[in-house]
C-alpha cells in the first residue's frame, strides 16, 4: 500500500491504547477522549503508560482538546486554516482514533453533488430489481451515519451551497430520508456519528458557508506553525516517514534543515510586511510546503545526485516549488536571495549559505 490510512498504520498503538483504556467512552467511541489525545499528541511519562506513544500531530495542545470535545458534543467539527497546516492529517488521526475508520471521506469539489453526501442508485440493479435498499449506494457520510462513526468532508468550502445545505439536515436531524422507497426509507444516524470537515481559509468567498451551517459546526482554526522548534519537529517527522516510504538511505544534515526553516521564516516575514499581492509569494509558505521542498530535494539528490543532500539542490527545489507565477514570484525570490541570503553567506564564511545562494541563483537563471 502506498499510503496506509492512520488506523492501519498505527493499528498496534490503537490496540494497545484500547486495551488499557479505562476512561469513559462517549457513544460508540473506541477510545476515551483522553486516550484520543494521547494518540494524537503522544504520551508523557506522567500518563503512566507502559510504552511510548509518539506524537503524530504537532501544534497547540488546546486545538486537539477542543476538537475532541467538539466531536463528543452534538456539533460537527470544522478545521479551518491555511493550506498545508495539517488539517486533514488531524482529521484523519481523530477519525482513526475515535472510530478506527478514517476512510469515509467525501472530497468537496465544484462537482460534488448531493448524491455524494446522501446516496445514489446502482442503475442496472434498479432496472433489474427495482428500487430497494440493495440497489442503493450509500455515500460515505451515510455509511458513517449507519455505523455511528466519524465521517469526513474535505474542503467543505469548495463544494457548492446546495451541497452544503444538504449537510444541514444531516447535522441537525441526524437522519436521511429516502423518498424513493416506500418502507425502510429513513436512515437514522447511530450514536457516535459526527462529521469532521476541513476548509481552506484561502478559499473564503468562493462558497461561503451559510450561517445555518456555521451554527452546526464548531470552528477550530489551525494556524500556520511559526514556532521554529515545533516546525523543525514536524519537518523531521514527516521527512523520516517519506524517506522510509521511498526506502532512501540519506543523511539529512541539521544545518540544511536550519537553512530551510530559516529561509521559510524569512519569506514569511517578507510576506507579512508586503503591501500588495504582487509582493507576496503565491504560496502560503506552510509547513507542508517545506516538507514538499525537502522531499523534492531528497528525491532529486537520490536519483540524479550523489545521494548526499546539498544546499544547492535544496535551493533549486525551493525556487522550483515556490516560483509559480512568472515574473512576480521569481522577482521576490531573486530579491530574497540577494537581499537576505547574500549578506548572510558573507557573514557565515565557509557555511552552507554560500552554496545555497549559488544553487538558488542557478535555478532562477534557468527559470527566467
Amino acid at each position: 500500500m502506498l499510503r496506509a490510512p492512520a488506523e492501519i498504520k498505527y493499528a498496534d498503538e490503537l490496540d494497545y491504547l484500547e486495551s488499557i483504556d479505562t476512561g469513559f467512552k462517549p457513544f460508540s467511541w473506541r477510545l476515551s477522549p483522553r486516550m484520543v489525545r494521547i494518540f494524537v499528541l503522544g504520551s508523557e511519562r506522567s500518563d503512566g503508560l507502559d510504552r511510548e506513544i509518539p506524537q503524530k500531530w504537532f501544534g497547540d495542545r488546546s486545538f486537539v482538546e477542543r476538537s475532541i470535545v467538539t466531536l463528543a458534543s452534538d456539533r460537527g467539527l470544522l478545521l479551518i486554516g491555511d493550506p498545508g497546516t495539517g488539517k486533514s492529517w488531524l482529521a484523519e488521526l481523530l477519525a482513526a482514533a475515535i472510530s478506527r475508520n478514517s476512510t469515509l471521506v467525501v472530497q468537496g469539489t465544484a462537482g460534488t453533488t448531493e448524491d455524494h453526501i446522501k446516496y445514489s442508485w446502482n442503475v442496472s440493479m434498479v432496472i433489474a430489481k427495482g428500487q430497494s435498499r440493495e440497489s442503493m449506494i450509500p455515500s460515505p457520510i451515510m455509511t458513517a451515519m449507519e455505523r455511528g462513526v466519524i465521517g469526513r468532508f474535505e474542503e467543505l468550502t469548495r463544494s457548492t451551497s446546495d451541497v452544503q445545505d444538504a449537510l444541514i439536515s444531516i447535522l441537525s436531524e441526524k437522519y436521511v430520508s429516502i423518498p424513493e422507497l416506500d418502507d425502510d426509507n429513513i436512515v437514522f444516524a447511530q450514536p457516535g456519528f459526527s462529521i469532521i470537515a476541513t476548509a481552506n481559509s484561502r478559499d473564503r468567498g468562493v462558497n461561503d458557508l451559510s450561517s445555518a451551517l456555521k451554527r452546526r459546526f464548531n470552528f477550530v482554526r489551525i494556524p500556520v506553525v511559526t514556532n521554529k522548534k515545533s516546525e523543525a519537529e514536524i519537518v523531521r517527522f514527516r521527512t523520516a516517514e517519506l524517506l522510509r516510504r521511498h526506502q532512501i538511505d540519506l543523511e539529512l544534515p541539521p544545518t540544511l534543515l536550519d537553512i530551510l526553516l530559516q529561509s521559510f521564516a524569512d519569506l514569511r516575514a517578507a510576506a507579512a510586511s508586503a503591501t500588495g499581492e504582487d509582493e507576496k509569494l503565491e504560496s502560503a509558505l506552510s509547513t507542508a510546503e517545506q516538507i514538499g521542498v525537502l522531499e523534492d530535494a531528497i528525491l532529486h539528490s537520490r536519483f540524479f545526485g550523489d545521494s548526499t543532500l546539498k544546499a544547492a539542490t535544496l535551493a533549486g527545489s525551493l525556487v522550483g516549488s515556490l516560483a509559480r507565477r512568472s515574473p512576480e514570484d521569481l522577482a521576490i525570490l531573486n530579491k530574497y536571495l540577494h537581499g537576505v541570503v547574500e549578506p548572510r553567506s558573507k557573514q557565515d564564511e565557509g557555511g552552507s549559505w554560500k552554496e545555497f545562494l549559488d544553487g538558488g541563483r542557478n535555478a532562477i537563471a534557468t527559470l527566467s
Binding site: P33, G48, D60, E65, R66, S73, K214, F219
Partner: protein, 877 residues
C-alpha cells in the same frame, strides 16, 4: 489519576536530586521565632490565608517585603481605588551611571493580594505597626549590574515564578496547561484555597524551596536581600523590644525558603540621589505585562478572590472601610505537624462544581457575543456549557476553570471571521472581570496634580472620568476662562500625545484664539500628571525647569535656546525668565563652532524679533545682543562655511540671510559693515551652489551688477563643460532668496532659462530633486517663487503665443513668419505682386500668401450660397 500526579512526579525527581533539602527548608522556615508568612503575589489563596491568619493571630507588628522607603506612601492608599502602584522616582541621579536616568520603581497593589490585606489590617487597627523591611529603592539600583540599562524596574513582591524558561516549559508541558498562570491556578491555587493555615504555609515554603533549588545559580542578590530584611527586622525588634511571637513576617515564598534565614548584612549607605514617592494608577493589564503573566490572569484572580471571600464568609480588610470585627478565636499554638505528606499524597478536597456560576457565564457570554455582532443563540449557551464540562474532564479537572470556559466559548461561538472589534477570547476576559483600572484619589495626588484639577474646575467637566471630555471655551464671551485655556496650552506642551488635544484654536507668537475646543483625556493620563508632580509644585514651575534644563543641557544649541525663549514668552510670560534664556541663547551662539543650526536660528530669531517689535517699543536687551553677536559670529564663520564641505548650502544661505536681513538693525546697534564686506571678500567657495550664493552676496553688497550676474549665468548655460553642474548653481540661487527676497525675479529668470536650455539628460534627473529639495529645505521660499513666476508668466493660454519673457524684452526681436488674416491679407492676396515687389526692394524672400486652394476652393465654388449665408450671419452678429 489525580491532578497532582505531575507535581508528584516533579517532586520525586527533585527529591532524588536534592535529597532532603526541600523538607529541611520547610522545617527551618517553620522554626524561626518571627512567624514567616510565605505569599505569592496576586494569589487569592494567599490573600485568603492572610485574612484568616490575621483574624486569628492579631499580630502587633507586620514586617513586609517591600522597599522600606515606600512606607509613607502606604497611608495614601486610603484615598485610592485599587489597583494602584507605589512609585519611587528619581530624575536627578547622583551615584548611578547618568544614562540610567530617570529611575523608576513600580510596585503594584491589588485588592486580592496578601500584601494589601496585611497593609489594610496594620493601618486600620490601632496599636499595630507595619514595617517595610526590604532594601530601599536606592539599593535596588545599587545592586543592579552596572552594564545593563535599567528602565522602569518592577518590584516583584512575593513573585513566585520560576526564574528560568526551561523549568517553566517543563512544568507547563507536564502539567498540560498553556501558561504559567493556569499552572499555578490548577496545581497550587485551587488545592490551597480551602486549606488550613499550617498546610498553606508548608506547601508554599515547599514550592519556594523547590524553585530555589532547581535554579541554585544567580541567587546572590536574593540572598543579600534576605539578609537585609532580617537585619532590619532584628534592628526593629531590638529597638522596640517587641516580642517576636507578636510579629508576622510577610514575604515571597521564594524568600521564606531561604538558606540565609536570620543572617545579617552590613547595609551600605544610600547614594545622594533624591527619590520622590507617590502613587500612580495601575491596571490589571499593566500588572500582567509587568510580571509577564498571561492576559486576563490578574482579572481572573480578582474574580476568584471575591468568590472565595463570599463563600468563606470571611471579611477581608479594606482601607477606609468600616471595620467589622469578626476575629477568629486564636488557634491553640500546637506543635509543628507534617501536613505536607497528606497534601501531596491525597487529592485535594476541591470545592464542588459550581453549576450556577458556569450557567451564568454561558448565558452572559452569549449575550455579550450577540451584542458584538456574533450570531450566537441559546443553543450556543448550551453548547458552551457542555463543552466546558467535557474540556475540564479531559484536562483532569473536577470543575471547569475560567480557562476551560474560555476555550469552550471560543470553540462554540467563534466562526471564521470576527464580526466586530472584539473576538470571543477578549469577550471572555471582559466577562470574567475585565481590565480594572485603578485611580488615585484627589487627596493622594501630588500638589501639582491637585492644582491642575482645581484650576480646570471652571470648565465644569468631571476630569477624573476616564472618557475623553470635550471642553468648549469661548474666550470672547467668557474671558474668565482665559486661565484655563492658558493652563491647557501648558499641559499640551508637557504631557504626552493625546492627553490634551486642541481641536480648534492655536497658540503661536502674535496669535490669539477667540474660541477653542479641546479633547481632554486627563483621567486616563493620571499617571503622566502625577509624574509631572515629581518635578515641581506647580505646572509653571515644571515648565520653567524643563526650559532651563533644555537650555543648560550639554547638547543645547542656540536654536534650542531660542525655542525655549519662545515657549517662555508663549506660556509663562515672565520677562525675567525670557531675559535669562535669551542671554543663554547669546552665550550658546557665541560658543558655537558649527553653523548647522543656522536655518533654525534665523527662522526663530525672525519670529521673536517680529513679536517684540509688535508688542514693545524697544527690543529687549538680549535680542539686541543676539543680533550683534550673531552678526559678528556669522561674519567670522562665513569664509570657512563657504569652503567647508560639511556645511550645506542651506546653512550658508541662512547665514547670509541673517547677515543681510538683520543688517540694518545690527548696524544701528553698532556693528560695522566692513566686517561683512571683508568676510565676503575672503570667501572662495568651490562648490557650484556656494559660488552662486557668493555671487548673490556680492550683488547684495553692490560689488556685482545685475547685468554681470546675468552674463555669468549666460556663460554657464553656454559652456557645455559646465552645463551638468548648472542645477547646483540654480539651487544656490534659490537659497539666496533667504537673504535677498528682491532677487526673486532673477531666480525665476534663471530657472526658466535652465528649463529652456538645459539638455534633457541634465534637466530630467534634476527636476524631481529640485522639487524635493524645495519642499524640504525652503518651504517658505516656494510661495515667493511661485508668486514671482505668476507675475512673470502669462496667466492665459491665449497669451502664451505672444509672450516675451521680461529678460528677453530688450533683446532684438526676430521676425516671425505668421500667417496673416483679415482685410490686410485679403488685400495682399489680391495684389500679391505689389507685396513681392516691395519685399524684393527690401531684400526679403517673398512670402507667398496662399488663397483658398484645392478641395476647399472647389467646395466653395460649388456651393457659393452657403459661404454667403455664413458671411451674412457673421456680419449680422
Amino acid at each position: 489519576m489525580s491532578p497532582f500526579d505531575p507535581l508528584r512526579e516533579q517532586l520525586a525527581s527533585a527529591a532524588a536530586a536534592f535529597g532532603d533539602g526541600l523538607v529541611d527548608d520547610v522545617e527551618q522556615a517553620l522554626k524561626t521565632d518571627v512567624e514567616i508568612f510565605p505569599v505569592c503575589h496576586h494569589s487569592p489563596a494567599s490573600a485568603l490565608a492572610m485574612v484568616r491568619r490575621l483574624r486569628e493571630k492579631q499580630p502587633k507588628v507586620i514586617y513586609l517585603e517591600l522597599c522600606e522607603d515606600l512606607r509613607p506612601v502606604l497611608e495614601e492608599l486610603r484615598n485610592c481605588r485599587l489597583p494602584v502602584a507605589l512609585q519611587a522616582f528619581a530624575s536627578d541621579i547622583d551615584g548611578f551611571p547618568p544614562d540610567w536616568a530617570p529611575l523608576s520603581v513600580i510596585a503594584p497593589i491589588t485588592e486580592s493580594s496578601a500584601e494589601y490585606q496585611a497593609i489594610a489590617y496594620a493601618l486600620d487597627t490601632p496599636g499595630v505597626e507595619i514595617v517595610l523591611v526590604d532594601r530601599s529603592v536606592d539599593h535596588v539600583f545599587q545592586w543592579e549590574p552596572r552594564a545593563g540599562a535599567a528602565a522602569d524596574v518592577g518590584i516583584e513582591i512575593g513573585d513566585l515564578r520560576p526564574g528560568f524558561a526551561a523549568l517553566e516549559e517543563h512544568l507547563l508541558h507536564h502539567g498540560k496547561v498553556r501558561h504559567w498562570s493556569e499552572w499555578w491556578d490548577q496545581y497550587v491555587e485551587q488545592p490551597l484555597s480551602g486549606a488550613d493555615y499550617a498546610t498553606y504555609r508548608q506547601v508554599m515554603v515547599l514550592i519556594g524551596s523547590l524553585f530555589r533549588r532547581l535554579n541554585p545559580q544567580g541567587n546572590e542578590v536574593d540572598e543579600d536581600r534576605e539578609r537585609y530584611m532580617w537585619t532590619r527586622m532584628r534592628e526593629h525588634l531590638a529597638a522596640t523590644g517587641t516580642d517576636p511571637a507578636q510579629c508576622l513576617y510577610v514575604c515571597g515564598a521564594f524568600h521564606a525558603a531561604s538558606p540565609v534565614l536570620d543572617e545579617r548584612l552590613d547595609i551600605s549607605p544610600r547614594t545622594a540621589t533624591t527619590w520622590l514617592y507617590g502613587l500612580i494608577p495601575a491596571s490589571h493589564s499593566a500588572i500582567e505585562e509587568q510580571f509577564g503573566l498571561a492576559p486576563g490572569s490578574v482579572s481572573i484572580a480578582a474574580a476568584t478572590w471575591s468568590k472565595s471571600v463570599r463563600r468563606s464568609g470571611l471579611t477581608p480588610y479594606k482601607l477606609g472601610g468600616k471595620s467589622t470585627r469578626t476575629d477568629l478565636p486564636p488557634s491553640a499554638p500546637g506543635e509543628t505537624e507534617d501536613r505536607l505528606s497528606g497534601f501531596l499524597t491525597q487529592p485535594p478536597s476541591l470545592d464542588g462544581f459550581d453549576e450556577a456560576e458556569l450557567l451564568g457565564w454561558c448565558v452572559e457570554i452569549v449575550r455579550l457575543a450577540r451584542r458584538n455582532g456574533y450570531l450566537a443563540s441559546t443553543a450556543d449557551a448550551i453548547a458552551v456549557y457542555e463543552t466546558s464540562i467535557l474540556l475540564a474532564g479531559m484536562r483532569n479537572r473536577k470543575r471547569p476553570t475560567p480557562y476551560d470556559f474560555q476555550d469552550a466559548a471560543v470553540t462554540c461561538i467563534e466562526k471564521d471571521v470576527v464580526p466586530g472589534r472584539r473576538d470571543v477570547r477578549r469577550l471572555c476576559e471582559i466577562l470574567l472581570g475585565g481590565d480594572k483600572i485603578g485611580q488615585v484619589g484627589y487627596d493622594s495626588l501630588p500638589p501639582l496634580a491637585r492644582d491642575v484639577l482645581d484650576r480646570l474646575q471652571p470648565l465644569g467637566l468631571d476630569l477624573e472620568k476616564r472618557t475623553i471630555q470635550r471642553a468648549l471655551i469661548d474666550l470672547d464671551a467668557h474671558p474668565e476662562l482665559e486661565p484655563c485655556s492658558h493652563l491647557l496650552w501648558i499641559l499640551r506642551r508637557l504631557l504626552p500625545g493625546d492627553a490634551v488635544r486642541p481641536i480648534m484654536g492655536s497658540r503661536r507668537l502674535g496669535e490669539r484664539s477667540h474660541q477653542e475646543s479641546w479633547d481632554l483625556a486627563i483621567g486616563r493620563n493620571q499617571r503622566s500628571i502625577i509624574e509631572l508632580g515629581y518635578e515641581g509644585v506647580t505646572i509653571e514651575q515644571v515648565l520653567e525647569q524643563r526650559l532651563r534644563r533644555a537650555c543648560w543641557d550639554e547638547k543645547a544649541t542656540a536654536a534650542t535656546a531660542l525655542d525655549a525663549v519662545e515657549d517662555a514668552i508663549l506660556y509663562l510670560g515672565s520677562r525675567r525668565l525670557t531675559e535669562e534664556l535669551g542671554a543663554r541663547a547669546v552665550e550658546l551662539l557665541a560658543g558655537e563652532r558649527t553653523v548647522d543650526d543656522a536655518p533654525d536660528v534665523l527662522r526663530r530669531i525672525r519670529r521673536l524679533l517680529a513679536h517684540h517689535r509688535a508688542v514693545e517699543p524697544e527690543l529687549p536687551a538680549w535680542a539686541k545682543s543676539f543680533v550683534t553677536t550673531g552678526y559678528a559670529h556669522y561674519c567670522t564663520l562665513l569664509p570657512t562655511a563657504f569652503v567647508e564641505e560639511e556645511t550645506g548650502v542651506r546653512q550658508v544661505g541662512a547665514m547670509l540671510g541673517f547677515l543681510f536681513t538683520m543688517e540694518s538693525l545690527a548696524l544701528s546697534l553698532g556693528c560695522d559693515r566692513a566686517q561683512l564686506e571683508l568676510a565676503v571678500q575672503q570667501s572662495h567657495p568651490e562648490a557650484p551652489a556656494k559660488v552662486a550664493l557668493l555671487w548673490t552676496a556680492r550683488f547684495q553688497l553692490g560689488l556685482l551688477s545685475m547685468a554681470e550676474l546675468r552674463e555669468r549665468v549666460g556663460e554657464l548655460l553656454g559652456n557645455p563643460l559646465v552645463v551638468p553642474s548648472v542645477p547646483q548653481y540654480v539651487s544656490g540661487f534659490v537659497q539666496a532668496l533667504e537673504s535677498a527676497p528682491a532677487l526673486a525675479p532673477f531666480v525665476v529668470e534663471v530657472l526658466s532659462r535652465a528649463f529652456g536650455q538645459l539638455p534633457d539628460s541634465v534637466l530630467l534627473p534634476w527636476l524631481p530633486k529640485l522639487i524635493t529639495t524645495l519642499r524640504d529645505q525652503a518651504p517658505e521660499l516656494v510661495p515667493v517663487l511661485v508668486r514671482e513666476a505668476g507675475r512673470t508668466f502669462p496667466a492665459l493660454l491665449a497669451d502664451v503665443d505672444s509672450f516675451t519673457p521680461p529678460w528677453l524684452a530688450r533683446a532684438p526681436r526676430k521676425a516671425v513668419a505668421r500667417p496673416a488674416s483679415g482685410p490686410v491679407s485679403e488685400l495682399l492676396a489680391v495684389h500679391h505682386e505689389t507685396g513681392a515687389a516691395v519685399a524684393e526692394l527690401l531684400g526679403c524672400a517673398a512670402v507667398p500668401v496662399a488663397g483658398p486652394s484645392g478641395e476647399v476652393a472647389a467646395l466653395l465654388a460649388a456651393h457659393p450660397q452657403t459661404g454667403e449665408a455664413v458671411a451674412g450671419v457673421l456680419t449680422a452678429g
